[in-house]
């Protein structure tokens, strides 16, 4: 049982072939063995985990299981508030922060019966990283610990890929779920803006922040999202609409789906390496072979989306951090404070122009989707770079593939498309219409089951 998925573990728990306590001990042992190298956890919570597991086991034995997440070990990115459990945002500034309430999503996942293994590394305040001048080291990529995980949900990406947890939470303001999902070779979805509550999650940029799940498979992401989604009056951006069954169409395949491909994103706006490009083309051939209609589309240059998103993100973030930036500048890590300082230097007029551009880009995306079900593009330009070779201005030098879907709020899934010459994972994004995560999952699951990539785990983790 080295690497059960959530779906597999749920079946084994339901048939009493494995107990939640055994599964939890298995994960705690793996954390003990591997996390000295990976640094994916800021704070493991073994006592809480075993207490949760005992509760789940009692329910299973009584025939009163709460469902597919009952007894499943997970962990939360350390910007999700956890009542009575330190929540640091990986920052010296919150080193002793003990929340008095759970984030809404933490409560929902606990209500579903999950076992809390602890709190996971992030880039500082979900923005600066990888940083080596913070109280905790940055998470390392389990496919090669000399390499970057991407971020900011870095701990979740590393812990899922190494099989320390079966799933976990992330947040995504410009790509912070999809980036680490891509470089760590797992699945991660940034849901539609408004689908998942942000209440109780330490914000980065209010109009771009999304909360979502990360797991080994698309199916597991659908199971986790089912528990996380839903209207929350505590989040002013929360959508008041019923939550569909994300797993209902998972096995329907892609026959008849219309897929648009903005090749200029990954071929000219920010050219990806050849193995990444081939991975995307192979995926498109797979979709076409399964009966989807694939055609090329043209959107605005990706740099337009990046400029719009970054200007909004950094000004919103600076507004939140301004008191500390003025009083405690050097308490932040160098990467965070230097990037965040840009927010102090953008004029109100330029911020407003970015908001006006955002409306135009949202209209453009809606028009593109008028006769499409999905868009497929790159997620990262190549395999993970070495962790000591990530430039300070990496998120400014070239436009990111993920930001267009934060600017517009559309659901976007990252999933593995194979491995590069260095043995590290490659990925693509599948993007859907607003609140149509079910179709995104359907396509992602069809691809995953057609390809062998889910059978391979990092050698370091015993794969």
């Amino acid at each position: 049982m080295p690497f059960p998925t959530i779906a597999e573990a749920a079946r084994l728990i339901a048939t009493k072939e494995i107990s939640p306590i055994e599964l939890t001990r298995h994960c705690l042992d793996r954390i003990e063995t591997l996390d000295g190298t990976l640094h994916s956890f800021i704070l493991p919570t073994p006592e809480r985990a075993l207490a949760d597991a005992k509760g789940a086991e009692a329910r299973v034995m009584k025939g009163a299981s709460k469902g597919p997440l009952d007894g499943i070990p997970i962990a939360h990115k350390d910007i999700y508030n956890t009542k009575g459990i330190r929540t640091t945002a990986h920052s010296r500034l919150l080193e002793h922060n003990d929340p008095t309430e759970d984030a809404t999503t933490v409560r929902l996942l606990a209500d579903a019966g999950t076992v809390l293994l602890g709190k996971l590394a992030t880039h500082e305040f979900a923005f600066g990283g990888p940083s080596f001048d913070l109280p905790w080291p940055p998470a390392r990529n389990p496919w090669n610990p000399d390499h970057f995980t991407s971020g900011s949900s870095s701990g979740t990406g590393a812990a899922v890929a190494a099989g320390l947890i079966l799933g976990g939470t992330g947040s995504d303001t410009g790509g912070s779920i999809r980036g680490p999902a891509a470089l760590c070779g797992i699945a991660g979805i940034k849901p539609t803006y408004g689908l998942v509550s942000r209440a109780g999650i330490i914000p980065l940029a209010y109009s771009l922040d999304h909360a979502g799940p990360m797991a080994w498979t698309v199916e597991d992401c659908a199971i986790l999202l089912q528990a996380m989604a839903g209207h929350d009056p505590a989040d002013p951006a929360s959508a008041s609409r019923p939550v569909p069954n994300f797993g209902a169409d998972l096995g329907r395949g892609v026959k008849g789906l219309r897929i648009g491909v903005p090749r200029h994103f990954h071929e000219s706006d920010h050219p990806v390496n050849e193995t990444t490009r081939r991975g995307i083309e192979t995926a498109l051939d797979t979709f076409a072979g399964l009966g989807a209609e694939v055609r090329e589309i043209t959107l605005s240059p990706m740099a337009d989306y990046q400029a719009c998103g970054f200007l909004i993100m950094v000004t919103e973030a600076y507004a939140l951090h301004e008191p500390w930036m003025k009083s405690s500048f050097n308490a932040y890590g160098e990467l965070l404070r230097d990037r965040m300082a840009m927010g102090a230097l953008i004029s109100a007029s330029d911020h407003m122009q970015a908001l006006r551009r955002r409306r135009e880009l949202c209209a453009e995306m809606a028009a593109a989707f008028a006769d499409l079900d999905l868009i497929v593009t790159a997620c990262q330009p190549a395999e993970a770079p070495r962790i000591d070779q990530v430039p300070k201005w990496a998120n400014l030098e070239k436009p990111g593939f993920t930001m267009p879907f934060n600017v517009t709020g559309y659901p976007a899934l990252s999933l593995c498309t194979g491995f590069g010459a260095g043995g590290l994972p490659l990925a693509m994004q599948i993007v859907g219409r607003p609140f149509d995560e079910a179709t995104v999952f359907r396509a992602g699951h069809a691809y995953e089951t057609a390809m062998p990539w889910r059978k391979r785990r990092p050698a370091l983790a015993g794969g």
Partner: protein, 63 residues
Amino acid sequence: MKPKISEADFEALIRRAGLDLTAEQRAVIYQGYAYVEAMAERVRTPRGREAEPATIFMPEMPT
């Protein structure tokens, strides 16, 4: 990539923001500011005066 803004004008921006930086910190952020200038130019594209920002919304009527 070198910023278009002069170092003196950049220093004035930093002072107005109320940030207390060393000369070394200011020099590093100055270099990064070139990217922000380029991004700001990108969103200053001409558009009609009726082009509303994305924060304008339609309040839902009670049903």
